[in-house]
Amino acid sequence: MSALTALARVSAVSSGVAQRIATVRHVHLSDRPLVFIPLALAGEANAPLAALVGSSFDSPQLLVVLQPRNRDERFAFAARLAAVFLSYVDSFRGETETVPAGRNTDPRERYVDAPQILVPNGGGVGFVRLLGRSTRFRRTEGEYAVEPSVPLLGRWLTFFAERAEYPGSSLLLNMTGALGMHWATGQSAVEDANLAALVGWIDPPDGMTGADAALEAEDPLTWPPAGPATDPTFDNEILAPAIEAGSLSRLESALRRQLEPTWELMWRGVSLLRNLPPGARVERRWAEDRDAFTGYASYVDEGGYPQARRDGAVAAAQRLARLERAQVLYDAQRAYDDPLILAEYRLTGEAFAGTVTASAPDRIDDSGKRRVLRPRVTVSSSDPVRFEPGVSVVSPARPSQTGRVVSVSPLPSGFEVVLELSGGMGRGLTAPPGSVPEVGERLTYTTLTESYQAPAAFPAREETPWTHGGPPVEYVPDDDDAVEEWS
């Protein structure tokens, strides 16, 4: 926990209400998200018990499994979920836009919007991942055949679950995670994973403090758990007898009562997030999500294989490289969008803020082969500047311009930093007005960068070296794909 978040938590305790730790919203929020609240049966590995699902507050659809231990019913549940889920996903496959050619890419089409799944918590994401895993390899003919929509659902669920690992993606969000990025409460991180308690802190009912609301949220009768795990007392006293009796109507009304409070919380969470202004770079990250969605939709259309059970050596290394790159970019983008997040970096010495005290906008560097424009500015800062000369820094106010630290010298209070600027000033030898910071301007400079980095090169799959087990055998789809080692 960073110092600012710790401070926000302390002031949440003293003021009785959650404190904002972000000035803007860092996740994309769809106009028509699909809220999905799954429940699983205790004691079984990810056995679906019920789900409340829908893309508008007024029309939740309740799906219930009469006997969760019966595997046929489990896949019948998946088929009913697929009907809702796939038609929601398909509804975004309409209008496209053309993305012009990039540095290493051809022009391509991309859907103008994409589906967004909202689950209550991290466990919900895990449910999506495991349900995807248990359905995407199922056969649609022969023994134990399932509806054709079931394996297709499995592939889409897997797509969303894998995308949720990707830093900065908003295709599958968990509500406690999304709210926790923007508010700090006066309770522990474990308690924050309870959606009712978290929303209670952020938006306590009239006359109550956040702590009161969170305390009330601990009563599972008023606020049943947000799933996938259910309340053990409910399991014993209500669920077990209802399953035993085999009465669908009894089961439905019991499960609806368990799910509806969470349904309400989810939409309260949506409106809390909607009230925050979006960060400037959220739209850019959502465009990447739309790219991923478009790409996967056409891969499915072309008859591609379901996602592999596990990554091969090369695929794992490539995925890790992509995730790391995305993480660095996401950290930088959030800091650029949000002064409060940038302040955290000032505290850890990865950024400093100061006022320009001198500026030489027309300075030319003629030491190389070619004369180049390299203005210098002097910034005086009261932050403890911990940069060495030679380090490159960028100001979020001028993201296309890089400053190289020339010198750092101590002042009576604070430091004086001389920066040599390049980029963002056109191609000529005179800087256009406004392109070089002027005396008196207040700026923050940070080492966080969103600049382009060439993707790392990896050997081809069939050239996997001996140190990593050599080339893997070619994948051939097989009846045993769906078999788990322990099943």
Partner: protein, 430 residues
């Protein structure tokens, strides 16, 4: 070490193994082994040879030592990123050519570069390779460079920090090629028959430290100190003013260890009192005119600022400590960056000092191992009281995963072992 090198080379060149691993405890002569192995391979004609190190600094250090050890006329090619400016210690050698492409290096038979640079090559094969600091390299980096060589010698310290990632993902846990694992871990899981040699003697750690570090961090392989009782001595030429700082410095000079214990308190990571204590202790070592007597300097060498280092777990702690040092040119750095370096006296801000919890990061055995094994003479640990209690309250709770080999040493146990030893060297602030 002379006994290990021939066995290593004969395993490597016998043709029955594609790789050989040499585990080296702190200061056991790993770099010397790499240099001597290179010299032997040159004289036996096992060329061309590629050498992989992890950072530019390591590459440059290695080149300096190689040039001194190799016969004149044996050229060394330094593969570097564009924009790399060779430091004068490299540029002054006519034997060394620097280039960003292999073609620019001319007809050299030894090419050396960082792993990251080697990974940018998409063609070319070297029959022989030496990978230095292989435990610091992540296995995905090895994947990117392994097609460049036929046979390789992997050298590294298994007790140091595992490589890390800015992302957290469990999806590869249990896979034999988990990219988050170290290069050697993955190499040995796929090639369990590869010979593994060990360097048995630490030349850096004094005899006061080798048994402690060996028992805590190398419980099964073990090593001894190359120097005996009385070979190393830290003298204090200046008088002290009394008080806890002096007591700690004197304790460290006498016994090789000191625990400077601040009153128990939960603090922010950048605990101002602890940071100030680290800086004050370093300053006091200088003020007391410490002199290091050792096999290298029998008549004593003054412990100057450049021979003292302060280590901490986090970068903001490093910055906080530095802010108390003023103009003093003492190295202050994180465990990651102190790996492979050596000083006469080190001062360590204990990773668990002032914490309310003991996370996996703070318990990682490699972190404490690096911090407590950089010194030739003495190590002073600065900590808030109560770490053993904190450890007792936070037993290891990391989940056990299927198909993941159990890793030794256990961080929790190693921390306990070190604290148990330090308990006898305590200087408590009342």
């Amino acid at each position: 070490m002379s006994s290990v090198l021939p066995a290593v080379l004969s395993d490597l060149t016998s043709g029955s193994h594609r790789g050989v691993v040499v585990d080296s405890p702190p200061g056991a002569g790993k770099s010397t082994l790499v240099v001597n192995a290179t010299a032997a391979m040159v004289s036996n004609g096992h060329l061309p040879l590629m050498i992989v190190a992890q950072t530019n600094e390591q590459v440059d250090d290695l080149i300096v030592r190689l040039v001194a050890a190799l016969p004149a006329g044996v050229g060394v090619g330094r593969l570097s990123a564009q924009g790399y400016v060779a430091p004068s210690r490299i540029a002054s050698h006519a034997q060394v050519t620097v280039g960003s492409k292999v073609a620019d290096l001319g007809p050299v038979l030894i090419v050396i570069g960082t792993a990251a640079k080697w990974a940018t090559l998409s063609e070319g094969t070297w029959p022989w390779a030496i990978v230095d600091e292989a435990y610091q390299m992540r296995s995905d980096m090895l994947l990117r460079i392994a097609n460049r060589f036929d046979r390789a010698l992997f050298v590294g310290d298994p007790g140091q920090l595992d490589p890390f990632s800015v992302v957290e993902s469990e999806r590869w846990t249990g896979l034999t090629w988990d990219p988050m694992q170290s290069a050697v871990a993955v190499l040995l899981r796929h090639n369990p028959d590869l010979p593994v040699h060990r360097l048995p003697v630490s030349w850096r750690l004094p005899c006061s430290a080798a048994p402690v570090v060996s028992q805590a961090f190398y419980p099964f392989s073990g090593f001894t100190s190359g120097t005996g009782e009385g070979d190393r001595r830290l003298g204090l030429s200046g008088a002290g003013a009394g008080g806890p700082l002096d007591a700690a410095v004197e304790m460290a000079a006498d016994t090789g260890w000191a625990l400077y214990e601040l009153p128990a308190r939960h603090t922010l990571r950048t605990d101002a009192e602890a940071a100030e204590a680290c800086a004050s202790l370093a300053r006091r070592v200088l003020e007391r005119g410490a002199v290091a007597y050792s096999e290298q300097a029998r008549d004593g060498a003054p412990v100057t600022a450049s021979r003292i280092a302060i280590g901490a777990a986090h970068r903001d702690q490093v910055a906080a400590i530095r802010s108390y040092l003023g103009d003093l040119d003492i190295t202050v750095d994180t465990a990651n960056r102190l790996q492979g370096r050596e000083y006469d006296v080190t001062i360590v801000l204990h990773p668990l000092s002032g914490r309310r919890d003991a996370t996996a990061f703070h318990l990682e055995s490699g972190r404490l191992c690096v911090l407590t094994s950089r010194h030739r003479h003495a190590c002073i640990v600065v900590a808030r009281a109560g770490i053993p209690d904190l450890l007792d309250a936070h037993p290891s709770t990391e989940p056990v995963h299927l198909n993941v080999p159990v890793k030794f040493p256990d961080g929790w146990e190693a921390n306990q072992a070190v604290m148990a030893h330090l308990d006898g060297h305590r200087v408590a602030l009342s």
